[in-house]
Symmetry: C2
Subunit: 152 residues, 2 copies
DNA sequence: GAATAAAATATGAAATTTCATATAAATTGA
DNA sequence: TCAATTTATATGAAATTTCATATTTTATTC
């Protein structure tokens, strides 16, 4: 029941990655929506928690989405009072996005909950898996970003 | 450069999973679009390659998307001649989706390419990682689906 | 064997996302 | 320095996606 079909898909690496990401995020994303945020907005808050004043383009890249979509997400977050735009002093093309007090409170709370949730996830794994998973994913990301896998 | 901001996000499990999934899929998904398909359509083809005649609901679950969206994706694939709907003999509510000859050719070709691509990905990892990644993700999925991580 | 509930799919309408491109500012290079 | 590029953001319009719910068929319960 609720079992993926046999053969190809259920052991295909890209499926396993997408499905794991989906399943691992499911519960926390429900919490995010419970707070009236959408997932992309939470991602923006998390990025700005780490480094306030990021550019639209950077936010888009770190949040894994397109620039024009990020522009609109920042629009909404700004209307909602979670962030403010300020144009960069030295380069007028750049728009830097800053947390408001409200935004900072919310991001602090959510980052806290995210860490708790992550700990619960990790504790559901075997100790060996729990210890290895993040380093392996980091190495995978590194392999993907550096060599980008030859296409020839 | 193109480095995620320090601190929280760049080592957050849900970020690493989403980013890995994204990065690992990027190249192959570009190939899918090159063939005039969208990613959800490729997922349907892959599911039906494994098991023809799946229901809309099953396709939606395996393809990680909502039922009403899957209904519309099947609409488009049907218009395009990749699949056909047939209502289930024994249960009139169920709509079963079958590959057409064109759909089967395309799915066969793409599954072949997907396996090639997967091999290239795996060969970019260390042998230890390459050997472990799928089993670990399967265990992660299993842990997530079975216990679903207590929420109490 | 009706009545009620559940399951599977479809659909209208609103919202979001994408795509191409516009706008504006900075950089390059002749 | 001026024209041509490049970079950063925004935006209109089309397409997709979501949400709530309708429709249809099967299962359950009394």
């Amino acid at each position: 029941m609720a079992q993926a079909p046999e053969k190809f898909v259920s052991s295909y690496l890209l499926y396993l990655l997408a499905a794991s990401s989906e399943a691992a995020s499911h519960q926390f994303h429900a919490r995010v929506r419970q707070l009236g945020l959408r997932v992309p907005e939470w991602r923006v808050l998390a990025c700005l928690f780490d480094q306030d004043g990021l550019m639209i383009t950077q936010l888009a890249r770190f949040s894994l989405m397109e620039q024009s979509r990020m522009t609109r997400i920042v629009d909404q977050m700004e209307k909602r009072g979670l962030v403010v735009r300020r144009s960069d002093a030295g380069d007028g093309r750049r728009v830097r996005v800053y947390l408001t007090d409200d935004g900072r409170m919310l991001s602090t709370q959510l980052v806290f909950e995210a860490k708790e949730h992550e700990n619960r996830l990790l504790s559901a794994l075997t100790p060996a898996d729990a210890e290895r998973i993040k380093p392996s994913l980091l190495r995978l990301l590194d392999a993907l970003n550096s060599s980008l896998i030859s296409n020839d």
